[in-house]
């Protein structure tokens, strides 16, 4: 029985403990804000412990036998999850107060989903990846359908569950096929076996099914169709949550398995990944052009962003992985910022989800207009925002690793141009159109405002001084 090194597990332990604590606190306190506060503190503590471990860690460490691998890579992803979860909790407070129901469970589900993500990022076992994935997904299914009396939310939860279960099945099948060839589900044991099994059709089918499973979770075309329906129907903070952390977690495991364990046969999957990336970017952006609902627009936008991240996988080296980590961090912050701004724009009667409802907001609610403009610019990848640096890094690393994939980079840049249209269209509406009817906006909710301002600071700070974050993302392969 190998020694269990608890200190390396502190982030996961803190997160699990906080989830349980939230449940207990919910039973004894009346104000549900306390639960949110506990959740925030726990998330902060988890992020802090991850950062401390990250700055002290040199070599990746096996824990729990070889079930998990704590590395700079996994710890950095913990910080992505921490940042996303913290921001999502802050923008949830208002929505949950309005709903008056099951608030305690809500925060617990968010926290447990985060534990699942952390397991995915630090898993050293395919089974562990699957466990993390299921823990996360089950929470998300419930969260998406969290307002049972709201038909759209109901539909979103149901669709997500059905399709998610389907994808999980395929994923598990892929694991089984790989186990059948490798003789182990340990990720580190795949690479040495590759020369023997790399050409085996059953092994390749297993690899393809893994891609499909991950492709579903991170919403790659053609496995993306659940995303717009779920984002639109789910409560807005949940949509923000699903678009950020889980996507990063999916990519964390995806990159861990492909850029690391399956790097030896990258020739087999590189072209497939490149084509999926091209399809995902293009379809996501093109359909986003014609959306009239801002949540659906952001859903397609997040599909397109998954395509950009996938471009980094084609590099299949340390630079590519680093650029993807950087990209995901930035993406989570700016995307939650955009969703948070949608929440800030709520009126007396409902949330403001139609794009034309944003007409004239720029002058009537200057701060709101400014924040939304900033996030849109960052999503579109304009300097001096973080979105620009993130895109630049990804494209650079991919192009340096495989100059023959220049077509993919050209396509990605063209896609960024296309995306500027629908991001800036919102800005045009905010500043250059007159509203058809006067909207009665509520005063800003301070918790949501704090979250959005934090996102804004992050987007600008990383955009202007990217070097600090870049140092944190520098990893070696075989992490």
């Amino acid at each position: 029985m190998p020694e269990i090194r608890w200190e390396l597990l502190t982030p996961i332990l803190i997160m699990t403990g906080t989830a349980l604590l939230a449940l207990v606190v919910d039973l004894v306190v009346r104000s549900k804000k306390t639960v949110a506060g506990v959740a925030c503190l726990g998330t902060l503590a988890m992020s802090a412990s991850s950062y401390l471990l990250l700055s002290g860690l040199v070599e990746p460490q096996n824990v729990f036998g070889e079930m998990m691998l704590v590395s700079r890579y996994s710890l950095f992803f913990n910080m992505i999850f921490g940042a996303s979860t913290l921001l999502v909790i802050l923008i949830s407070i208002r929505t949950m107060e309005r709903a008056h129901q099951h608030q305690g469970e809500y925060y617990m589900l968010i926290l447990l989903a985060t534990v699942g993500m952390m397991l995915m990022a630090s898993a050293n076992e395919l089974i562990m990846v699957f466990l993390g994935l299921e823990l996360m997904s089950l929470c998300l299914y419930v969260l998406a359908g969290f307002f049972p009396r709201d038909l759209a939310s109901n539909e979103a939860g149901m669709k997500y569950l059905l399709l998610g279960a389907f994808a999980s099945g395929l994923f598990l099948y892929g694991i089984a096929l790989i186990y059948g060839n490798v003789g182990s589900t340990n990720i580190t044991e795949i690479a040495p076996q590759l020369p023997r099994i790399g050409e085996s059709p059953f092994f390749l089918v297993g690899v393809v099914l893994l891609i499909v499973g991950f492709g579903f979770k991170v919403a790659l075309v053609p496995f993306h169709q659940w995303a717009p329906d779920v984002y639109e129907g789910a409560p807005t903070p949940v949509a923000a949550f699903i678009s950020a952390g889980p996507k990063a977690a999916g990519f964390a495991a995806f990159f861990r398995i492909f850029a690391d364990a399956l790097n030896g046969i990258s020739g087999e999957w590189l072209m497939l990944v490149a084509i999926l990336a091209a399809l995902t970017m293009t379809v996501g952006n093109v359909i986003a052009l014609v959306q009239s609902n801002i949540k659906r627009m952001l859903a397609y936008s997040s599909i397109a962003h998954a395509g950009y991240v996938l471009v980094a996988l084609t590099a299949a080296n340390g630079d590519g992985v680093s650029s993807a980590m950087f990209y995901l961090f930035v993406y989570c912050i700016m995307n939650i910022g955009a969703f948070g701004t949608v929440i800030l724009a709520e009126t007396k009667d409902s949330e403001t989800v139609q794009i034309r409802s944003y007409a004239g907001i720029g002058f009537r609610r200057p701060l709101l207009g400014l924040l939304m403009t900033l996030f849109m610019l960052s999503l579109a990848g304009f300097p001096p925002t973080a979105g620009f640096i993130a895109k630049l890094n990804v494209f650079k690393s991919a192009l340096q690793a495989h100059p023959q994939l220049a077509w993919l980079i050209v396509l990605a840049v063209l896609n960024a141009v296309v995306s500027a249209y629908y991001y800036l269209r919102l800005v045009v509406f905010m500043y250059m159109r007159e509203p058809s009817e006067p909207l009665r906006f509520l005063p800003y909710n301070s918790w949501s405002l704090v979250a959005v301002l934090l996102s804004m600071i992050g987007v600008l700070l990383i955009g202007i001084l990217p070097s600090f974050l870049m140092e944190q993302t520098s990893v070696q392969l075989f992490m």
Partner: protein, 623 residues
């Protein structure tokens, strides 16, 4: 010498910009004092920590930090302080200080008060960067910075269309010069692989003469634009639309002399390239033609503007014949006396309700005595009457020119006569004779905050020339010895310097007497002054129709092509058409793809299955 004083020198105007720029709108009139104190601090540093140590033999060439690295290109922020830079720093800070003080009074009632001082401090900052740089790229940064401030300050009164037009004209004409400068910079980098003065000058002898000729001529194009020489001088007279202190500081004393400074700084290149005579001829012809245009102009500030163009021409003639010290010497004296004259012109405007037409003045001598006497000092200085400053510096240039080509000297001599004539024509029309202004105008002397700078500036305007006594062996020439006069070496001493002084003084006196005979000896009837000009005078009043020629030959064709070809056909038709077509196409595809998003779970699952089938089919069958 350490780099600290240079940093402090730059820091104070910069602090002034930050304070006045960000908080000026709330600080009110104190901004003028802040701006002035910033310059005063720089001025003290310039004298005691830079100029005097340099006189004592100190030098500095130090890189502060690397600014840009890309491939083999490495550009540093670094400073080069020698006698030439020290003289420029001293002139810039001194004249700036007086003009800042003066502006507190002159701009007192302007709503853009703080904006004015922000721009003015920014200008000083940029100008000091220009003269302290140790490489061409940083010099270019200052060069563009002063250009920007010039543009902002010409169009300072942006409600006036004429001011905006003048600002745009200055900017666009300067772009032409800057384009040449930039090409020169590219050529320098291609040839030398560096922008640092010291490295370039050390390697210059190794380069082929063709490369050096290209570099120097391109740099000279930049100087022509910035320093308003033929054929790019047209922006400077229009630049008088800016507030008068701006005309004084930027468009007379400092910025427009940047071209002269740049050529003096690049002296090793110009010497090796042997293009000096091109520079000298452009300069002396500019001097002559600008002076002829000043002869007939009735606008107080425009006479001074043409005079500035003309005097800049002298400076180029000086550096062109290799007399770099003489050119810089004239730059210095001119900065003082021309800066002074613009400020007095501003004082006249102040007392005359912003009237600029000299035909509507006359007899102001008794109304504004300080203004009159200080202006007279400036006029005597520029006319070249000993021992006033302009005499020494102009004579030095003429003497050096005589050694090279007698014709340049001769044109310069005639121009000196013209200069004396138009300056005293201005004095007689403005300050002597019967008043011709309307009864509603009540001329009065300006407040002390304006007249004290006039008096203080009149002292160097009169006496600063004395530092140059002794010509090539004088104190000033020896100070600038590192930029030594080639004139000394090639001089055959065919005539003594003294012999050449006699004709130039006589010509100046003749000009003054002629001006008196025409404009001072008898009463000037306003109707006669207002009569439309004829003959040669008409040609001069219309400035040789140069603006009209540029308009017909360059501006109109460009506008025509831009409007009817580039805009209506290329832009609207082809580019917009293509963009719209693509946009329409992509949106169409988007609407089509949207149809697949049916909302049915079964359809979504089917899509996943189809995706898997296609991928697996590819892997298992096609490979």
């Amino acid at each position: 010498m350490t780099v600290t004083p240079v940093l402090l020198l730059l820091l104070f105007p910069f602090i002034g910009v930050i304070i006045n720029g960000f908080f000026g709108s709330r600080l009110g009139k104190i901004t003028g004092v802040i701006g002035t104190l910033a310059i005063a601090a720089s001025w003290l540093i310039a004298i005691f920590a830079i100029f005097l140590p340099v006189v004592g033999g100190a030098q500095l060439d130090q890189d502060l930090y690397e600014w840009i690295r890309s491939g083999t290109l490495s550009v540093s922020i670094g400073f080069h302080i020698d006698a030439l830079a020290a003289v420029m720093i001293l002139v810039v800070t001194t004249v700036s200080l007086f003009i800042h003080i003066y502006s507190i009074g002159y701009m007192r009632d302007d709503p853009g008060f703080f904006r004015f001082f922000t721009y003015l401090n920014l200008f000083v900052f940029a100008m000091l960067i220009l003269v302290t740089a140790n490489n061409y790229l940083m010099m270019f940064v200052g060069w563009e910075g002063v250009g920007l401030c010039s543009y902002l300050l010409i169009g300072f009164w942006y409600e006036r269309k004429s001011a905006i037009d003048a600002g745009k004209k200055a900017f666009i004409v300067n772009r032409i010069g800057d384009f040449g400068f930039l090409l020169g910079l590219f050529t320098i980098f291609a040839a030398f692989g560096t922008f640092r003065f010291e490295e370039i000058f050390a390697d210059a002898a190794m380069q082929s003469s063709g490369v050096l000729v290209a570099i120097t001529l391109l740099l000279f194009v930049g100087a022509i634009g910035k320093s308003a020489q033929i054929p790019l001088y047209v922006w400077l007279p229009d630049a008088m639309e800016g507030p008068t202190p701006v005309s004084s500081l930027i468009h007379a004393a400092t910025m427009v002399t940047a071209g002269v400074y740049m050529i003096a700084r690049s002296a090793p290149l110009f010497d090796l390239a042997h293009v000096g005579l091109v520079v000298a001829w452009v300069g002396i012809l500019t001097a002559f033609f600008a002076a002829t245009m000043a002869l007939v102009n009735n606008d107080l500030k425009r006479v001074l503007a043409y005079s500035t163009v003309s005097q800049l021409g002298y400076m180029f003639a000086g550096v062109g014949v290799g007399a770099y010290a003489a050119g810089i010497f004239h730059l210095m004296t001119h900065a003082f006396f021309k800066g002074l004259m613009f400020l007095t012109a501003g004082s006249v405007m102040h007392g005359m309700d912003d009237e600029l037409d000299m035909r509507k003045m006359g007899g102001l001598r008794s109304k504004m005595p300080i203004t009159f006497w200080t202006f007279l000092v400036g006029a005597i200085a520029i006319a070249g009457i000993p021992p006033f400053s302009g005499f020494w510096s102009k004579d030095e240039i003429l003497y050096s020119a005589f050694q090279q080509q007698h014709l340049i000297w001769a044109i310069g001599l005639v121009t000196a006569g013209l200069t004396a004539f138009y300056m005293f024509r201005l004095i007689f029309m403005t300050f002597f004779g019967e008043p011709r202004y309307e009864e509603s105008v009540h001329p009065h002397e300006s407040p002390p905050v304006m007249t004290i700078p006039l008096i203080l500036l009149a002292i160097p305007a009169a006496l600063i020339g004395l530092v140059g006594i002794g010509g090539h062996n004088g104190w000033f020439a020896r100070l600038l010895a590192s930029h030594g006069d080639r004139g000394v070496e090639v001089a055959t001493e065919s005539v003594s310097a003294l012999a050449l002084m006699i004709p130039s003084v006589l010509v100046a006196l003749f000009g003054i007497v002629l001006a008196y005979a025409i404009y001072g000896a008898h009463k000037l009837p306003i109707l006669k002054l207002m009569a439309p000009p004829t003959g040669l005078k008409k040609l001069l009043v219309n400035r040789y129709y140069v603006d009209e020629i540029y308009d017909a030959s360059i501006i109109q064709p460009i506008q025509f092509i831009s409007k009817y070809v580039l805009w209506k056909v290329v832009d609207v038709g082809i580019i917009d058409g293509m963009v719209n077509l693509i946009g329409w196409l992509v949106r169409g595809i988007g609407s089509l793809l949207r149809l697949f998003q049916t909302g049915r779970v079964q359809a979504y699952a089917l899509s996943v299955i189809i995706g898997i089938t296609v991928i697996l089919g590819y892997y298992l069958l096609l490979r």
